[in-house]
Subunit: 212 residues, 2 copies
Amino acid sequence: MMVLYSYWRSTTSYRVRIALNLKGLEYETRSIDLVAGAQRSDEYAALNPGQGVPTLVLQDGSVLTQSMAILDYLDALAPKPALLPADPLARARVMAAAHTIAMDIHPVNNLKVVGRLKGEHGASQDDGVAWMKHWMTEGFRAYQALLTLDSSKFSFGDVPLLCDICLVAQLYNAHRWGVDMSEFGRLLEIEKEAMKLDAFQLAKPEAQPDAG
Amino acid sequence: MMVLYSYWRSTTSYRVRIALNLKGLEYETRSIDLVAGAQRSDEYAALNPGQGVPTLVLQDGSVLTQSMAILDYLDALAPKPALLPADPLARARVMAAAHTIAMDIHPVNNLKVVGRLKGEHGASQDDGVAWMKHWMTEGFRAYQALLTLDSSKFSFGDVPLLCDICLVAQLYNAHRWGVDMSEFGRLLEIEKEAMKLDAFQLAKPEAQPDAG
């Protein structure tokens, strides 16, 4: 069975859990407690030189890192349901929306980045939260502006795609830190649709074995 | 002809320029002066809601944003030379290395992020440079640890792939800001090989029409 090194509150781990569930792939979770610094142990750093989660270890021992590269692999391993449209232009649009979150929000709000803002640059806890909220608000605005359909269940149609996976995982963080969602009604509707699906429900942070 | 909205020093624009050149695709450059704030004009924000570069406008007027999604599209449009291996596992490894730069370094060092560090959190110019150097050093260590071949010309063999494109563009920034490269000899060798190719030479920041 595949082994997913994951942390319950990590939104990148959350993305991979959703995809594994959507594709019906079985996996075993091993918790890496980011707050306790488990990602920096020698053993884990040998597995994942970036010292982050998730890491996916395949049945044959092959090690995959970086959540978006893992999602690309899973889409090749188990092509249905597809995470991206087949048409190159449609695919590029879904990917661009996904990257609005995966590139423009998540990395800047990563635990280690906010930690450095506080540790090296004297930011308070409140400053750190304001920093995270700022990038989420900006990123959600860009995401919402990329959507072309007003009434589909998900961002680009009636099935969840790569961008919806990134969005739903990021919305967990938005709620956690109290982002004002009043201008993002469309995104909340997408989240509500997603939460009707077992693949999303079972991937939720609160449903994980290491949830605190 | 395709139109690339680009800024000479933007490493994400640099990535797309390299790929267009490698694939022999003709394009016209339109400069968006990030330092002057041209990316925030109403006209440009309508084209690219993330208010960043690059944006690629196809001959039929279709608009593509997010550099990594643009590279994915170009790889479908002009499959040779391929930017990623065909084997899913090899592909995931090259993509993970690319994302070590595209996710873990670049977004955190983005102009708007470092700008906010200085503007809202009182960081000095020196603090901002130290911040950028820190994430580059950490990211380059992770990148180098992911490489499995010691003597190939590029990161995963003798042809440049997606990860090499991201690496070479990021190294421009590393030199610009004075990152200590003494532990990254392998990466400098890759850069040297890349610079023997016209596709990289012509994409260099200094070779752009808007170079200052």
